[in-house]
């Protein structure tokens, strides 16, 4: 392509971003923009899929039929969200199969939160309330992200996600109205999930390598630290309302800023979990690889059957 032509295309692309006109699959886009989107959307899709594992762990042990039906519906939604996102990613010309293989080899990441175990029923409350709550904080601004298929997938996901957070908070409310043991179980779940939930927003702005470019491209609309602050400000009163204590001695309302101040995140732990050394990294990947390998014959058989039917119809 001629240099002048490329400059024109790039100018037209930037003009669209400036005017908040969405970029669509067949439009010209810079390679780096495409790569950033593939990385972000696939990471997001993998998170939805791996995110089914910690909750799937409790489906057979839900305390009653209502909770079981709800949890089943929630986990099914996560599978659906993964599908919307993989389908958005494929519009960028990257294959789903390749993307899944990249997750299995560790080349592609998923949210570090899913590398923590879900030890008690209260964890289903903490995960729905905090993990889905943090995800919503991240995802609502993504409904206005500059790439059309990603934005449209996020609109669908956000519509479905609010039930996830409410059902989790409801579990916490119910436990907090229960026995001393049940209250302790809820508090313990909060203690274990609070800090990992804050880590979901990623490294601090000073450390984040992708943030500025992604904001210029209008892929991201807020920085990691802005979103994290919004999450803390929203969650603290919710905890207080039902008698839970946020496990952070440095947490206090800052009148001047109009926000909560909170303690330093253990970035070393974050680094360890992201780089594969969290409590469940190996287990999660092993479960995904097993699902892919053991389901392979089914997918092959379905394809062979479809081809046979097609051949029969043609003859």
């Amino acid at each position: 392509m001629k240099e002048q032509n490329l400059a024109d295309l790039e100018a037209a692309f930037n003009e669209k971003l400036k005017q908040d006109i969405r970029i669509e699959p067949k439009d010209w886009m810079p390679d780096a923009y495409r790569k950033t989107l593939i990385r972000q959307i696939s990471q997001h899709a993998h998170s939805e899929i791996v995110g089914m594992l910690p909750e799937g762990n409790w489906i057979t042990r839900a305390p009653n039929l209502r909770r079981k039906a709800v949890l089943l519906a929630k986990v099914q939604d996560e599978a659906g969200h993964g599908q919307y996102l993989y389908s958005a990613m494929e519009t960028l010309g990257f294959s789903r199969e390749q993307s899944i293989d990249d997750m299995h080899t560790g080349k592609a990441k998923y949210s570090s939160i899913f590398n923590y175990p879900t030890l008690t029923w209260a964890d289903m409350g903490a995960v729905g309330w905090l993990v889905d709550g943090a995800a919503i904080m991240n995802q609502v601004p993504l409904c206005r992200t500059s790439y059309g298929p990603y934005a449209r997938a996020m609109v669908r996901i956000c519509k479905e996600e609010s039930f996830h957070q409410r059902q989790g908070y409801e579990i916490m409310c119910t436990l907090m109205k229960g026995s001393e043991d049940q209250k302790a179980m809820a508090q313990d779940a909060l203690n274990r999930f609070w800090w990992p939930a804050l880590m979901m927003f990623g490294p601090s702005d000073a450390e984040s390598t992708h943030t500025q470019q992604s904001i210029d491209w209008k892929i991201k609309r807020h920085t990691n630290d802005e979103l994290r602050q919004m999450f803390v400000d929203a969650s603290v009163p919710q905890a207080q309302l039902i008698g839970l204590t946020i496990p952070d001695p440095d947490l206090k309302w800052n009148e001047e800023r109009g926000h909560y101040d909170f303690g330093e995140i253990d970035w070393e732990e974050f680094k360890q979990v992201v780089s594969g050394n969290g409590p469940c990294n190996a287990e999660r990947i092993a479960a995904r690889v097993k699902a892919k390998e053991e389901g392979m014959w089914v997918r092959e058989a379905a394809m062979a059957y479809a081809e046979k039917k097609k051949a029969k119809k043609a003859s």
Binding site: G80, Q83, S87, E160, A302, M303, Y305
Partner: protein
């Protein structure tokens, strides 16, 4: 499944009687019947539709955004196709 990934299908949903089928996304499936079932599971978990169309993505032929100017220009220049092009006296009322 080296090279044997299920084909991609575009999904169109009619949300209620009287409206068009509208593109909602895509899914993978071995054949058309399975594509409808998968589309049902992925795109209509909350009664978003009463009818589904699926079309194999490879069968869709799309216009090229780079040709948009030439392709759509003939419509842009024919403003006399719009009612506001015509002047009528104020007294005529709604027309």
């Amino acid at each position: 499944m080296a090279g044997k990934e299920w084909p991609l299908w575009e999904v169109f949903i009619r949300s209620k009687q009287g409206l068009n089928h509208k593109h909602v996304g895509s899914i993978h499936a071995a054949d058309a019947e399975m594509a409808v079932e998968n589309a049902r599971d992925v795109y209509t978990r909350r009664s978003e539709g009463i009818s589904i169309w699926v079309v194999e993505s490879s069968q869709v032929f799309a216009s090229d955004p780079a040709d948009s100017d030439a392709l759509f220009e003939p419509a842009n220049s024919k403003i006399y196709r719009h009612p506001t092009f015509y002047e009528v006296p104020d007294g005529v009322g709604h027309m």
